[in-house]
């Protein structure tokens, strides 16, 4: 019996290790190659003289920093607007009963699941006409389709978890509605709000379709710009790896911070982890 269990555990851990290699090795390989010089790229595998020349070439000698900054501007502002408009909406959906409540909520959710290209093609035309093509504002606006549904649905769940009693108690203490919201409710949902915002940021940061089609050379996000480093005539694999590594960094770091709330965020509140 005992032996059987030991074998069973070994098999389990072995299978998990195999998957872990599949999931993590590509990332390891990306980081590894980013330190490899062009000269050593073809004749070495794991053992080589690490160099920073790729980082130097990409970060200092191309517009990479500008792409990075563009991505930050667009994603951060998009999330901020979604928080400002979405948190009150989430509260309304959680606390009030009103006509068409669920269909409103589902309409907002359906934005997230509409094919992005269906929105983008006509929007491209409108943006060209009203001068929003290739602007920060244009991208920030369309990014609301990514960030707003996520925030509203996740935050709604956090509000629903809070007992109404707390609001009643605060009300008895003489707080106004606005004060209750700011001083009692916001502190309670803060962990959830922060992680939902970070996840919304990651989604916005990672988006590719919107900036590819609604933006040109003026505002260029990192996801779109990274493809430039695949130019086949000048094969600098190390530089490709640097572009990928640096752009993946913010998302991975934020992901570490929000582990506890990740399930809830990813499932739009449908699964409460």
């Amino acid at each position: 019996m005992k032996r059987k269990r030991i074998v069973g555990n070994a098999v389990k851990n072995g299978l998990l290790a195999l998957y872990a290699i599949f999931a993590l090795f590509p990332l390891f390989w990306m980081v590894l190659i980013s330190f490899k010089s062009d000269a050593q790229m073809f004749n070495t595998t794991f053992i080589f003289d690490p160099t920073l020349e790729n980082y130097d070439a990409v970060l200092l000698r191309t517009d990479y920093f500008k792409y990075f900054l563009d991505s930050i501007i667009v994603s951060v502002v998009a999330v901020l607007i979604s928080v400002l408009a979405g948190v009150p909406a989430a509260y309304a959906l959680a606390r009030y009963n009103f006509k068409k409540k669920e269909s409103l909520a589902f309409t907002i959710l359906s934005f997230r699941f509409a094919p992005e290209i269906l929105v983008v093609l006509p929007l491209f035309m409108i943006y060209q006409k009203i001068g929003l093509y290739d602007t920060y504002f244009g991208l920030i606006w369309v990014y609301q389709l990514i960030t707003m549904p996520l925030l509203i649905w996740v935050i709604r769940g956090y509000f629903e978890d809070i007992s109404v009693e707390i609001e009643h108690a605060a009300q008895v203490d003489g707080y106004s509605w606005w004060q209750v919201f700011l001083k009692r409710l916001l502190p309670l949902i803060k962990p959830g709000l922060v992680s939902a915002s970070l996840l919304a940021f990651i989604f916005a940061w990672n988006n590719f379709t919107f900036p590819l089609m609604l933006s040109g050379t003026h505002v260029e996000t990192i996801t779109v710009a990274s493809l430039k480093y695949i130019a086949s005539d000048t094969v600098h694999y190390g530089q490709m790896a640097v572009a990928a590594t640096v752009s993946a960094l913010p998302a991975v770091i934020f992901a570490l911070l929000i582990q506890k709330h990740l399930v809830r965020g990813l499932s739009f509140g449908a699964v409460k982890g």
Binding site: K12, A92, F98, L109, V120, M148, L227, V263, K272
Partner: protein, 323 residues
């Protein structure tokens, strides 16, 4: 009906609120929601426009456009490229989703059954691929599958396989794209199902153990029905996204080689942007939207049913545990 796994809304609480909160007026919830709706619905105008412009010959090249009736639609349905695109879309979505669900379920069960330091670390680091942008993930895989510097080529050489073509050949491009999709999105399935497994009540499993039920019996009759809602949610999200997949395929081969990976999204993009036939590109994407909606409705229906079953079992199990 809320998108809520508990299935039970705190309705009583909200109604209670309606009667007792003095600052409530009927207009208030609408006012509170207005900004978020204005911001998102403004974007939704294109949605209606898409249908209208699919009936025109709008192009970025022509100064004017005219109404062409159903010509774009008829052209599309009689075009073999369209049926090919539908076939590619369905095939990619089928393989990607099925593999992600099976592998995800398997890994989630393994992770859920063992508590040690190794699995604790794994739960965190396994989410990394999901956090990397799919486009960046594709670039990483291009670095891996490249025949001159890619590690996978060297690995396959050990088995006597040389110059495996990956995305470059008609025969293996679909496999490569699905592999990348699996790499990026399998963690999504894992953590959703894992959350379901971890929220399972303990008592029915203990009684099953005492009764001497086999592992398979426990899984089939206890675990599976109870985590089914989570499985459906994961399936819903993955199937909808993989039917619409654009980023990975575009970054990998732009739909090539030839038309091997031309799914509906990529075909619509090519028609609209590369060939600048804007009006003609819209029917493709409207068909895609229709397919996605149809599939989503079916899964949501099943999900709601599974939720009822699961909560029923939950309650029965708890009662059984008490007696």
């Amino acid at each position: 009906m809320a998108f809520n796994i508990k299935g039970k809304q705190p309705k009583g609480a909200a109604q209670n609120d309606l009667n007792t909160v003095p600052w409530l007026t009927k207009a208030r919830p609408y006012l509170i929601m207005a900004p978020s709706l204005l911001i998102t619905i403004g974007i939704l105008i294109p949605f209606g426009m898409a249908i209208f412009y699919s009936l025109t010959n709008y192009s970025f090249r022509l100064p004017k456009h005219s109404f062409v009736g159903l010509r774009n639609w008829i052209n599309m349905f009689t075009d073999r490229a369209f049926w090919h695109a539908v076939w590619v879309t369905v095939r990619f979505a089928f393989f990607a989703t099925i593999l992600e669900m099976l592998l995800g379920l398997g890994i989630a069960l393994l992770l859920g059954n063992t508590e040690n330091k190794f699995t604790k670390v794994l739960r965190v680091v396994l989410t990394f691929p999901l956090m990397v942008a799919p486009v960046i993930g594709t670039i990483i895989w291009q670095l891996m599958t490249n025949n001159s510097v890619g590690i996978l080529e060297k690995f396959l050489n050990l088995f006597g396989i040389y110059n495996f073509p990956w995305a470059a050949s008609h025969a293996t491009a679909m496999f490569t794209a699905v592999l990348i999709d699996l790499w990026v999105y399998c963690p999504f399935v894992i953590i959703l199902i894992l959350a379901g497994i971890q929220s399972l009540p303990k008592s029915p499993f203990e009684s099953a153990k005492i009764d001497g039920g086999s592992a398979w019996f426990t899984f089939k009759n206890l675990t599976l029905p109870m985590i089914k809602p989570c499985i459906y949610i994961a399936l819903l999200f993955r199937l909808m996204a993989s039917l619409q997949e654009f980023s990975i395929i575009f970054a990998l081969t732009k739909g090539g080689p030839g038309d091997t990976l031309m799914n509906l999204s990529v075909t619509a993009y090519n028609t609209g942007f590369a060939f600048q036939k804007f009006g003609a590109s819209l029917p493709y994407i409207l068909v895609l939207w229709f397919i996605v909606n149809l599939v989503a409705k079916q899964i949501v229906k099943r999900w709601m049913h599974s939720q009822k079953v699961a909560s029923g079992r939950d309650a029965a199990a708890e009662e059984g545990g008490k007696s």
